[in-house]
């Protein structure tokens, strides 16, 4: 038996589908957050006048959602929902906004039961599911912010000493990401929607019923695979804190995606370009062309800078210098692992050990249904031929 490298890109696509949210789960999630949204929209909030706006943000919005694995155990999907109340910083406080939303959720019988303790920025509703794949619905209270863009919002932040505002722009970020993804979306959407409709005809009667949010471009697949490998790579309590955050992975990948046709080729391009930044750890210069893009930078004080593409004041890498640049070092060592675990897997291993390797890199449950496609079975249909040895030659060597 041998490992079939040619089918590896197709294998990665299948694993990415496996770690994605399945269409029926997506439909349930949308129904749930719409119900929560309606409940929040119908609420009365002091100091607010106008319409409450509810919309998803983060991986659920970007189409990069991955079934999470926390410390090696499969966990529920995370859905982030922005609840934007019609107010301004001048007439309200972060604490008031946070608790207005919290109080409204507590008024609902079901939601009050599902509601977790108050988080730093959000309220979390814990949905347990009959098949154990649940959701965490994070509701993020916010108000419009008169910032750089008309999509900017101010979100609340709970510190030890009290509440504060912080800036965010999830709709602006999503629009930026969509721009990077658009051409590939146009290329891949018709074929993928057709495939989803055929597979899930009980959910979607017509192709047009399949939502755009279920289409995955090679960029989105590449991000999903990177996030899954990240979750497994940083799966120990002492390393989990240094794992690169999803927004960094998503931002850098979207910058570097060059329209490749498969997740595997997209990953190769993204990871190789990122690896060429590794000299930054030793504060050495990198390729000038790459430096010109300014994706990852060292500031004069030695700290790190990865810009939010829609708000350059926001630095996604603002903690990378802490603990002796632990997050920066972890990021670049993870890239190396990605290279050997995912991009150039050790196909010389025997099939059993190769499957174990893939399971460590992508998760056993996601790999198991598809690993066999990589193993060319020996066409050994008949039992081994029996040979009787009599009067053999002795082995020799000419010199």
């Amino acid at each position: 038996m041998a490992i079939d490298k040619i089918r590896y890109p197709e294998f990665l696509e299948r694993v990415a589908r496996e770690i994605d949210i399945p269409p029926h789960k997506y439909r349930d999630a949308v129904r749930r957050y719409q119900a929560v949204g309606r409940w929040l929209e119908d609420g009365e909030y002091s100091g607010c006048s106008g319409e409450v706006v509810i919309y998803p943000q983060g991986s659920f919005r970007l189409g990069t959602v991955v079934r999470p694995v926390r410390l090696g155990v499969a966990a529920g999907y995370d859905i982030d929902l922005v609840c934007e109340l019609p107010s301004t910083k001048g007439v309200t406080t972060p604490q008031l906004i946070k608790h207005s939303v919290g109080d409204r959720l507590k008024q609902h019988d079901t939601y009050s039961r599902l509601l977790d303790d108050e988080g730093r920025r959000c309220w979390t509703l814990e949905y347990a599911e009959e098949d154990d794949i649940g959701f965490h619905l994070d509701v993020l209270p916010a108000i419009p912010d008169s910032g750089l863009t008309d999509t900017a919002i101010a979100i609340t932040h709970k510190h030890d000493w009290g509440y504060d505002w912080s800036a965010s722009d999830p709709r602006g970020y999503a629009a930026w990401f969509d721009g990077k993804n658009q051409a590939a979306f146009v290329r891949h959407a018709p074929e993928q929607k057709l495939a989803i409709q055929r597979l899930e005809s009980h959910i979607y009667a017509r192709i047009d019923d399949v939502p755009d949010q279920l289409v995955r471009t090679p960029l989105q697949r590449a991000i999903q695979l990177m996030k899954r490998n990240r979750d497994l790579h940083f799966n120990r309590p002492e390393t989990v804190a240094y794992a690169p955050i999803s927004i960094i992975i998503t931002t850098l990948a979207a910058h570097l995606y060059g329209g490749e046709g498969h997740a595997h080729s997209a990953l190769v391009a993204i990871v190789e370009a990122l690896q060429r930044h590794a000299a930054l750890v030793d504060n050495r210069a990198i390729d000038p062309g790459l430096a010109g893009l300014g994706l990852i930078r060292r500031l004069p004080d030695g700290s790190w800078y990865i810009a939010n593409p829609v708000n350059s004041d926001e630095n996604f890498a603002d903690r990378w210098h802490e603990d002796g640049h632990a997050r920066a070092r972890a990021f670049f060592s993870w890239l190396e692992a990605l290279q050997t675990d995912l991009l150039n897997p050790p196909t010389h291993l025997d099939p059993r050990r190769f499957k174990e390797h893939l399971a460590r890199a992508l998760g056993g449950a996601a790999v198991a249904p598809h690993a066999d496609m990589l193993v060319r079975p020996a066409p050994e249909v008949t039992p081994r031929r029996r040979v009787h040895i009599s009067n053999p030659a002795k082995p020799w060597r000419s010199g």
Partner: protein
């Protein structure tokens, strides 16, 4: 000159591939065809354990087979990685002293015969050696010494010069039953080493005979240099005559065998 693959050889390739369906023709050149793939078998000699195993092998078959023998290599890296002595530097497996290979092959002179009588016993021997640290069928010494030893065993002789005389005779005159036997018994060949000499004559080609003569001469010469033997004067003259002839193009030797 390059020879195209004959119908007979095509038939033998088909026979081999049908017996070992994982093998396939991977390359065709003007003068040789290469067959490669996993060779899975279960082999057992009479009184030793059975071994079931599969090796990735590559077999390059000259289109003049069986006049010239195929070269076999193991491509999975198991033999090369094992520090096994019986491998040429180019990776070709040393299945045995050439004339012994020819003798063994003569029992089934087809490609399947080559695989099942030479290659598989060799691979079995390798597995056995890995497991037990010894060769189940013995092993030949390296180089000319191994060839000389093989002839000594084959002819049941102790004297290297007698072997040299026998191979010289085969080179110069082919098989002739009425000759005095080269072993020095004083009897005619037909009353002495008839079967062995006839067998050698039949299994050799002019080319292989010449190679073996040189090898045995070299082995004797090494002993001579170590003072272990001396060449009697009449033999020296015969050897010089033959060595001189061997330096000329091979068809001079071939003409000796034209009467065969």
């Amino acid at each position: 000159m390059a020879q195209r693959v004959t119908l007979a050889l095509e038939g033998q390739i088909a026979e081999l591939v049908s017996a070992y369906p994982q093998l396939a023709v991977v390359r065709r050149r003007q003068a040789e065809t290469t067959i490669a793939g996993p060779l899975a078998f279960e082999a057992a000699p009479d009184d030793l354990e059975a071994i079931s195993v599969s090796f990735d092998i590559e077999l390059t078959v000259p289109h003049t087979f069986p006049k010239r023998l195929p070269r076999a290599t193991e491509t999975g890296g198991r033999i090369r990685g094992a520090d096994y002595e019986h491998v040429f530097t180019d990776g070709t497996l040393c299945l045995g002293v050439p004339i012994q290979q020819r003798r063994v092959l003569s029992e089934q002179p087809t490609l399947l015969g080559f695989v099942e009588r030479l290659l598989i016993p060799y691979l079995y021997g390798f597995c056995f050696w890995r497991k037990h640290g010894r060769h189940p069928f013995g092993e030949a010494a390296h180089g000319p010494e191994g060839i000389l030893q093989h002839y000594l065993d084959l002819l049941g002789l102790d004297d290297p010069l007698a072997v040299l005389g026998a191979i010289r005779l085969l080179c110069e005159r082919g098989y002739d039953a009425r000759q005095r036997c080269p072993c020095g018994s004083g009897r005619r060949v037909r009353d002495c080493h008839r079967a062995a000499l006839r067998g050698l004559h039949n299994h050799h080609t002019p080319e292989t005979l010449r190679t073996d003569f040189r090898a045995i001469y070299d082995a004797c010469h090494q002993r001579f240099q170590r003072g272990q033997l001396s060449f009697p004067r009449p033999m020296r003259r015969q050897l010089h005559r033959l060595l001189k002839r061997l330096q000329r193009p091979t068809h001079h030797l071939g003409s000796v065998h034209a009467s065969r």
